[in-house]
């Protein structure tokens, strides 16, 4: 197949957007966003008073729209990859376009799984690893899209707020000046979903239970002898009792996995948000530096998605292998 020279006009769009962002940042100075640990409510009243009958009021918080966008995006990519692969199967067996990209990524991940979990369990462990990794990757990277965390509902601040300027048509712009009273703050429509403890905690719980299930599938009920170790209890009383106590400690370290999974992802992404906000407010009208920090965010998001998936995979591999006197990896 002969290659024709393509005119790379798309890269000029990127350059023009960068310059435009730089100039616009000089005209409309960046405002330090309101940093909250919990997700902000878009509507003050709860959607339902008592969700599912027992769970209390259910608010429309601004991580829910992002969750919807993420899931729709993943579904679209999945269908597109499926169609692309089917088309290549019917023609000449050469995957092209998005099917090729997904095949390359998944093959890389599968080889990695086989490397650390062995060929026997790689088939069972791989879907968990790949799903968690791709999902968290999209969750982390989606907030780099312009408009995320900057367009939203303006409402009255309880404490200190900012002045606003009307733009017409119900839209307003937040100004950098601070007001003691009658100020306004912004609750953005879209907030990165990994900057919400609920998301990271639920993923950590899913991964934790999947690890236990994988251990039971591999070793049967003998898996729990890791926690309640009575194997040597009656043969060598002293060391048997020691083993039992170590097994109890193992339970604590198993539950600490949930905590460390949760706070690793949440802490990294939340630190990114705060970093961007602080840097934006440090320099005022010069807006090139927050863009640089955003590039760093891209890297952190990729690494954290990789680490979350990789850790799930490694813990699952450890659970399938059973235990003897091997050393336990620290987490």
């Amino acid at each position: 197949m002969e290659t024709q020279k393509r005119t790379p006009w798309r890269r000029w769009i990127v350059l023009v957007l960068m310059v435009a962002g730089f100039i616009l940042g000089g005209i409309y100075a960046p405002v330090q966003p309101e940093i909250t640990v919990a997700a902000e409510k878009l509507i003050e009243e709860p959607l339902t008073e008592n969700f599912l009958g027992f769970a209390g009021p259910f608010y429309l918080v601004n991580t829910l729209p992002t969750l919807a966008v993420t899931i729709v995006l993943l579904l679209v990519i999945g269908f597109a990859a499926n169609r692309s692969l089917k088309k290549s199967q019917q023609t000449d067996l050469v995957p092209r376009g998005i099917g090729n990209v997904m095949e390359a990524i998944l093959e890389m991940l599968y080889n990695m799984t086989e490397g650390s979990a062995g060929t026997k369990w790689a088939k069972a462990i791989f879907p968990w690893f790949a799903t968690i990794m791709i999902y968290v990757l999209f969750a982390n990277l989606l907030k780099l899209i312009p408009g995320f965390e900057s367009i939203g509902v303006i409402h009255h601040a309880h404490g200190e707020g900012h002045a606003i300027a009307e733009l017409g048509g119900g839209w307003a712009n937040i100004l950098p000046e601070k007001l003691e009273h009658d100020g306004y703050i912004l609750a953005p429509f879209f907030r990165g979903i990994s900057v919400d403890l609920n998301f990271t905690l639920s993923l950590a719980l899913i991964s934790f239970f999947a690890i236990q299930v994988m251990g039971v599938r591999a070793q049967g009920l003998g898996y729990f002898s890791k926690f309640f170790n009575t194997k040597r209890m009656f043969k060598v009383p002293f060391f048997g009792a020691m083993d039992f106590l170590v097994g109890l400690l193992e339970i604590i370290s198993e539950f600490a996995k949930i905590l460390s999974f949760t706070f690793r992802l949440f802490g990294n992404m939340f630190a990114g948000v705060v970093l961007v906000a602080v840097v934006a407010s440090l320099l005022g009208k010069i807006s090139i530096l927050p863009a640089m920090i955003m590039m760093f965010e891209l890297f952190v998001g990729l690494i954290q998605a990789f680490v979350f998936g990789m850790l799930t995979m490694v813990f699952m591999a450890m659970a399938t292998q059973g235990h003897g006197d091997e050393e336990h990896a620290e987490h």
Binding site: I35, T36, V37, M112, S260, F263, R264, F266, G267, N268, F270, A271, V274, I303, Q304, F306, V307, M310, L311, E330, H331
Partner: protein, 79 residues
């Protein structure tokens, strides 16, 4: 000079919480040192070492991130 002693101590506490980041820095340095030494001796293992090094660095870094979360919780008056 006026102000709230509680606000002042909040900043002091956030600063103290970040002392833990020193240990994470030492940990990251050690793991990178080991990985680079391995790469220098045996360049073929580059890919494998890099993956595992990034994993180790992420573990050490997460300790610093816990400190950061505690510091943020104090700064933004969550607890």
């Amino acid at each position: 000079m006026d102000g709230n002693i509680l606000d002042a101590m909040r900043f002091v506490g956030a600063g103290l919480a970040m002392i833990g980041a020193a240990g994470a820095g030492v940990g990251i340095g050690l793991s990178v040192q080991g990985a680079l030494g391995g790469m220098a001796r045996n360049p073929d293992t580059y890919g494998n070492l890099l993956t595992n090094m990034i994993l180790g660095v992420a573990f050490s870094e997460s300790i610093a991130i816990y400190c950061l979360v505690i510091a943020f919780l104090m700064l933004f008056k969550v607890v």
